[in-house]
Amino acid sequence: MAILKLHGGKQATCTRRVATVLHELQVPFELIEVDVANGAHKSPEYLKIQPFGQIPYIDDDGFLLYETRAICRYIAAKYPEYGLIPTEPKANALFEQAASVELTNFDPSASKAGLQLWIRKMGYPFPTDDKIIADNLETLEKKLDAYEAILSKQRYLAGETITLADIFHLPYGVFVTYAGSESDSVMNRASRPNVARWYKQLISRPSWLAYLDGVTTTTAY
């Protein structure tokens, strides 16, 4: 059986999200870099596989799949012993609730602000906008007040154990902190101690630390 191939970018945000989950599940994978700078993701050959012209996608021994959260769900379902997607119906429903919260209450503002803050930090030659960053961080602050309420009752977003729903908050959960400092940022405020506790747990996981310099082919754990 061929090694799983992750087609994406070494530093690309969504590629990193998939790599983090692959690492959590100890799945060997080969990173195949897509030459986004030269428009490889918009070529007719690429569009046949990913018709929206986006990265990443995976090739799992011939099974092609795109959309990072669908990819992560597929891999997690193959290795249920890690518990990243609970299977008991109510626990599963609470996982889906938390995953939907990330999608609708976190990602819209976190990805807009986070992408721009990441571009600035990496020094990429793309335009950024102070107002877009500020407005989205303001929205995110309010959403995280609801997170504080949830995380004051339980350790992780879907219950007492970590699930994909928590991990989906990477990497944008880290990028939005680039607007602050290590001791005071939107994810780490004295006024939201439970969010800070949860955030610190996420970023100390080996799966996040493994790719701090970018995603690399990983064949052994």
């Binding site: 929206f52 799949l65 597929y74 379902a77 429903a93 889906e96 999608l103 609708t104 609801a146």
Partner: protein, 218 residues
Amino acid sequence: MVLKFYASPFPVAGGGIVALALAEKQAAFDFVPIDLKTKEQKTAEYMALNPFGKVPAINDDGFVMYESRAICRYVDEKFAGQGTTLVPKGTKERALVEQAVSVESMTLFPPLDKVVWEVVVKPERGLAPDQAIVGKGLKEISDTLDVYEGILGKHRYLAGDDFTLADLVHCGYLPFLVEKGVDIMTAKERPNVARWWNELMSRPTWVKLQAEGMKSTV
């Protein structure tokens, strides 16, 4: 105790998606209307159900949850073996449904949400739509539907030949555009999208829901 379903009484948006899923699963439920005009969803009592202060939410004999797409998955699982299967059990089949659901959430919904805000919500509040935002949003939606045209040329529904959650989630917000006279779903240049959309809008569960509204089954 029968499942309690909290939503605004109009079969649209997130509440509409859940109402359609409950109908597809032939599920029994007690409907509890939440009045968005008086901001009932922001009261302390409601926010005990959903700390984000949004509708819909359910309380299934003490099991409380929110987020319409998550509720649909739970309802599909709880009532497995009756009605329509919204998420197939096979690993790869399910992955393809999740792929299509993710496209709706991440690519179609963001501009659609903005356009609906401009053409539906603002006029209700006596405000004029910003045509620049509407134009930009409709272009993004149209570009996504061009990709759907290719996908729907290969199979009947978005994730294969069966109706699934991936198709169902499109019934919450796109109908707003159609109602406002935006002809985007039946454009002649996209015959596959038009065919698929007409099939969705003729589903008996959908037709009945729009005709009768949100009604307790008990």
